[in-house]
Every structure is written in C-alpha cells, then in structure tokens.
C-alpha cells in the first residue's frame, strides 16, 4: 500500500496561467520507463492508480486514439484522447479528456530525460482549455479544412474540364 508518508520526488509548478507542470524522477532507465508507458499490459498495471483499468483502445502512434476506463468503488470513469506526437523514448503529446468534464480538453506533453545514472526524469506539462475554446478551435479547424477541401475540389473540377 502507498502511504501518505512515502517519499515523493515530485515538483509541481504552474509555468503559465494555463499550465501545470509535474516533474518526477524515477529510479529506472529510460527504456524501461518508456516501455511501462507504451506497452498496454504494463500500462494497465499502474495507470488505474490501484483501481481496475480496462484499456478499450490504445494506439500510441501519431493520430492514434486511446480510451481507458477506471473502475473504482462501483463507479466507472472513462478517459480518452488522441496522440499528437509519439517519439520513442523521448516525447509524447496527447489530448486528455475525462467523461465527467466533457469538452474540457487538456493537452499533455510528456518528455523523458535520461539522467545518465540509471534514473529518468519525466516532465509532464498540461495545458488546459475550456469547452468553449476547444469547440472554437475545432470550428476554426473545420472551417479551414472545409475551405481546403473546396479548393481541392475546385482544382479537380478545373482539371476535368
């Protein structure tokens, strides 16, 4: 059992007024930390914080989807997001949403640093957005996407003349 008195080598800072940064140093080599973060059978053993974890989807590649459901005290908590960047043993950028706060997307950037003495520093920077901002981004993204599609269609139609 973890106890409240367990030594916690963690620092938490708020680098900007929208970000939380958590740094942890693990007494394990970087390759091992990376494996624990990206091998689903290993992820299932720690991600749920001691609760049963069902990994419904886990595709740690760019554009991949992840969805985990934590079972705690008769309740289910679903979490999900998309991978934006996966650079082996170095960096993962992903979105994070909890079903209980729909639309409150967090953009997480996780970086691993080999400290050279068998230890690894994990730095997680979490950037928060409101639901409205997220929707705004999606909307502007879609508008851009739609315009690009129309431009491509225009070109295609032009070439068919």
């Amino acid at each position: 059992m973890m106890t409240a008195t367990a030594p916690r080598r963690a620092t938490v800072t708020t680098p900007t007024d929208r970000e939380i940064r958590i740094e942890r140093i693990f007494d394990a080599p970087r390759s091992k930390v990376w494996k624990a973060m990206t091998d689903p059978t290993l992820v299932a053993q720690w991600w749920g914080r001691g609760n049963k974890l069902v990994i419904e989807k886990f595709e740690p590649v760019r554009g991949g989807h992840w969805r985990f459901v934590e079972h705690a005290e008769g309740q289910q908590h679903g979490f999900e997001g998309r991978f934006r960047e996966v650079t082996p043993e170095e960096r993962v950028v992903q979105t994070f949403e909890w079903d209980g706060m729909p639309g409150h997307t967090v953009l997480e950037t996780l970086t691993l640093e080999d400290l050279g003495d068998g230890r690894t520093r994990l730095m997680t920077t979490s950037l928060f957005f409101t639901a409205e901002e997220r929707d705004g981004m999606l909307q502007s993204g879609m508008e851009g996407g739609v315009n690009q599609s129309y431009a491509a269609l225009d070109r295609l139609l032009e070439s068919m003349k």
Binding site: M2, I20, K32, L42, W46, R49, W98
Partner: protein
C-alpha cells in the same frame, strides 16, 4: 468566449497555491469538511487554514456555514469553483498515477 476564457484564468489564479488546490480537491472529491478537519488533513494550524479558506471564499470557490461552534466548508456553486476543482483533481490524479508508476518500476527492478 472571452468571458469563459477569463473564467479558466481566474480558476488558475485561485488554485496557484498548492495548499488551496489541495483544499479544493478535498472538498470536490470527499464533500464538505469542517475547518478543523481540513487543518488536520493538511497538517496546519487552525489559524493558517482559516486564512486559506477565507481567500477561497473571497474568490467564490468555497462557501462556508457556521452551525454552533463548527464552521463547515463546501465547494462553491459557481462555475469557476467547478473549473478549479477539475484542475485540482486532475493534478492529484496525475500525481497518484505517477506514484503507482514509480511503485511499478520499483517492483519490476531487475527485469
């Protein structure tokens, strides 16, 4: 949209202090608590805890009510309080998760 954005910024400003983040997380996940209970769980003096609670009350994040000699605090009903509770809860979740990862990595030493 501007109005909502400032809500999140305000929530962040209010939870900039780690103890206050802890108080909000505690009230958000475990429900109402007295000042004495909060002081105990954060290993603080009553005076110190009262100051933190006052700041949170001024920001509208926490509401309190005195019945007899006991002042009970609960999470505020404003939208900002829910935003702040989410940020605090998220941070706790991340730290709990990394505690487990640390334990897991320690357990598998020599693999």
């Amino acid at each position: 949209m501007v109005q909502y954005s400032s809500t999140l910024d305000d929530a962040f400003a209010a939870v900039a202090d780690p103890t206050r983040r802890g108080i909000i997380e505690r009230l958000g996940s475990a429900g109402p608590a007295s000042i004495t209970e909060l002081a105990d769980s954060f290993d603080m003096t009553l005076t110190g805890m009262k100051k933190h609670v006052q700041i949170l009350e001024d920001a509208g994040l926490v509401e309190s009510e005195k019945i007899g000699r006991v002042r009970t605090c609960r999470l505020g009903s404003r939208r900002l309080a829910k935003e702040a509770a989410w940020i605090a809860r998220y941070e706790k979740m991340l730290n709990d998760r990394f505690d487990r990862l640390e334990e897991f990595l320690g357990r598998t030493t020599g693999d």
